[in-house]
Amino acid sequence: MIAPVDELPESIAELGDGLSRAGYLPGPATALVAYLAVRLGKPVLVEGPAGVGKTELAKALASCLGRELVRLQCYEGLDEAKALYEWNYRKQLLRIQAEAQGAGWNEVQDDIFGEEFLLARPLLSAISATSPVVLLIDEIDKTDQEFEALLLELLSDFQITIPELGRISATSQPVVVLTSNNSRELTEALKRRCLYLWLDYPTLEHELAIVRMHAPELADTVARKLVEVVGMVRELDLKKPPSIAESIDWARALLLLGARDIDEETFAQTMSVIVKHRTDLEIVAARVGVALAPASGE
């Protein structure tokens, strides 16, 4: 029933390398859990603050496994018609009218609730894809608890029940990644079906490696200074602490500006790359800006 899965990674290190090649440097725990998810075919729930690369992990996983990424972005009020499936009622109606003469009611009814009239939404298309995909269910904490219940059947048995049609089982088993910003507690039932990975801001060395990977031309000293400063900024109580993506943006900005050091002036000019609230800007300028060396007269 489930298509044989081709070329699964053989070791944690192999998957880790694959992810690195896809532009994602996993920490040891990340590589391990991703490996388990792929090998065991269990969904993995990734939680952590915004901007630590939860979504990126799914993308990198898709690209290193050579699979298509199916993404379901969650939001308040998301329902099954948008996530699972929907009947293509226009087509159904046309069918009814086309057959209005002659055909008996039973034939028409059997007809119009066939797969032909089904519009696959992300979840259905993920499990009915001919080759296995990576299914990303992004920001699951944004939905209502009712929607979580909808997911349970899919996550544990990889099947979807459509009342008019019966059960649709997966033709290929997707790797499922759910992400959550931890803005609300997810239900036990959902957690029970998933492997759990907590992603936090990376350690200094790890982030340095990430920045180097994405901005290799940046001088080593600047890169190190950059991650140190970002670490300092994250320590503050901000509305929105800088994410990894913003560190990388900042590195690229510095590269463009040709900065050779992060001094007070450079920082003041470019800090809006990593800090994006007016009140946050003030706090950061007052607490971090002054700690840096004043611009050397060049």
Partner: protein
């Protein structure tokens, strides 16, 4: 499945481990344990971090759980190994044979080589190597002057110094020595923890008994954080509250003026009647933005709860745009401004206690007066869309509760809630008059983040059908 087959007895040990996790309050069910077995089938067992990580991914499903998990794991492994060692009579430190082996090993070791190896392991943060080297380090340096001080912490520092491990740069050392640049602080701390563990092991062997396992203390298990974490918990609950209020608050109230037909759903249901739309489906009414009025008691009788209340207020302000907040003691005063101005919780609570203008002549709450003043302030704005939340203990100090005023308020507002920071047991004793107000609002006992969560949850259930 690849990987080595499970050694006999491992399942029993794993179940025992699951038992211990349950005892510490983790929700470890059979399905989790089955997952754990599956996961262990996929990873190598020789590497401790992979072993631990695989178990954690299947058994511990929140950051708090993960922390408890790590502590229990450490304790379990340590005790399992030591118990086995005691049973088998294996020792490393005592007994002529062990002594000789140790001495021999230490002698064979090139001490400088050992220093370099340890430094390298720390620089690379190589968990496995650090663990092994910690044992060697104790063998080599721990007994240098033949008298372990008996205080483990002192011994750890002595060994660290002997190894020349420091986090700051040591330029006098040769080129290529990892210690030259200074070692990562994190790795140093970790190595010290390993040394400590090994020394504890040695102590158990000396005394030949295992101290009884003790359950984790509250302090151990809490994540290393302070009031900010409580604040975060409250914020999380309030975000949920917002969702509940938004979707369940006003929709049942007010008149149905007009409805919109939902073409899509009407067509869809018409298919059952051959395309003739017999049943008209209406578009669901969009919930309106809730307006929130929050009244917060800040008098001395609720001192213990007022920090909690203020954090609720603070969190509410982060989530709701259309919200006005008031604090009261004897009189009421609006503090919406303060929250709009200050962001940090500390600044807010300082500002309120300093200059919120709470005219408290006597320092005693006067609920009756508060109601009439509040009514005068907001009467024109109150409408059925509004939700009023009162945070207070309903202790009037013997003054007239003026429940009529409150009833009028509640009648104007859409929904009225009362969160009482006192345990239900104390309600209506002494000067508490909560029962006078209870008919006009929904009263909840609320002094922890969990109860706040219960309140939020019951919001959806409490909607009149």
């Amino acid at each position: 499945m690849n990987g080595p087959p499970a050694p006999r007895g491992i399942d029993a040990r794993l179940l025992e481990f699951g038992e211990q996790l349950r005892a510490e309050g983790l929700a470890v069910g059979t399905s989790e344990l089955l997952d754990a077995f599956d996961a262990l089938g996929e990873v190598g067992w020789s590497e401790r971090s992979a072993f631990q990580g695989a178990l954690a991914a299947t058994l511990a499903k929140s950051p708090e759980d993960r922390r408890v998990f790590d502590l229990v794991f450490e304790r379990f492994l340590f005790r399992a190994v030591e118990a086995a060692a005691l049973r088998e009579g294996v020792t490393e430190w005592r007994g002529a044979e062990g002594q000789q082996l140790d001495a021999g090993e230490a002698a064979r070791l090139d001490l400088d080589e050992l220093r370099a190896q340890i430094a390298q392991a720390l620089a690379d943060f190589d968990e496995g190597a650090m663990r092994d080297l910690a044992r060697l380090a104790i063998a080599a340096f721990g007994r240098a002057n033949e008298s372990p001080s008996g205080v483990i912490g002192v011994d750890v520092q002595r060994i660290r110094r002997a190894l020349g491990l420091r986090s700051d740069a040591q330029p006098q050392l040769g080129e290529g020595d990892p210690r030259r640049e200074g070692l990562p602080r994190e790795a140093l701390r970790h190595f010290e923890a390993l040394l400590r563990l090994e020394l504890e092991r040695a102590q158990i062997e000396r005394t030949e008994q295992l101290a009884p396992a003790r359950p984790l203390g509250e302090l151990d298990r809490a994540l290393p954080s302070g009031p900010a974490a409580d604040l975060a918990a409250v914020h999380r609950v309030v975000a949920q509250l917002r969702r509940r209020l938004a979707s369940h608050g006003g929709e049942q109230r007010g008149r149905r003026r007009h409805d919109h037909i939902d073409i899509r759903r009407t067509m869809r249901s018409s298919l059952q009647t051959g395309g003739v739309p017999i049943v008209i489906k209406l578009r669901p009414r969009r919930p309106r933005r809730p307006e929130l009025y929050v009244l917060c008691d800040v008098s001395t009788s609720v001192t213990s709860a007022s920090v909690f209340f203020l954090s609720v207020l603070h969190a509410l302000h982060d989530s709701f745009r259309r919200m006005r907040s008031f604090v009261f003691i004897e009189r009421v005063s609006e503090v919406t401004e303060v929250f709009a101005r200050e962001r940090a919780f500390k600044a807010v609570s300082d500002a309120i206690s300093r200059d919120a203008g709470v005219a408290d002549v006597s320092g005693y709450t006067d609920y009756g007066r508060v109601w009439s003043e509040f009514r005068a302030l907001v009467e024109d704005d109150l409408d059925p869309r509004a939700t009023v939340i009162v945070l207070g203990d309903a202790r009037t100090n013997g003054r007239d509760p003026r429940a009529g005023e409150f009833a009028a308020l509640a009648a104007h507002a859409g929904r009225t809630f009362w969160l009482n920071p006192e345990p239900r047991l104390y309600w209506n004793y002494g000067d508490s008059v909560i029962s006078a107000y209870a008919p006009f609002c929904e009263v909840f006992e609320c002094w922890t983040a969990r109860q706040l969560e219960d309140f939020v949850r019951s919001l959806s259930a409490a909607v009149p059908a």
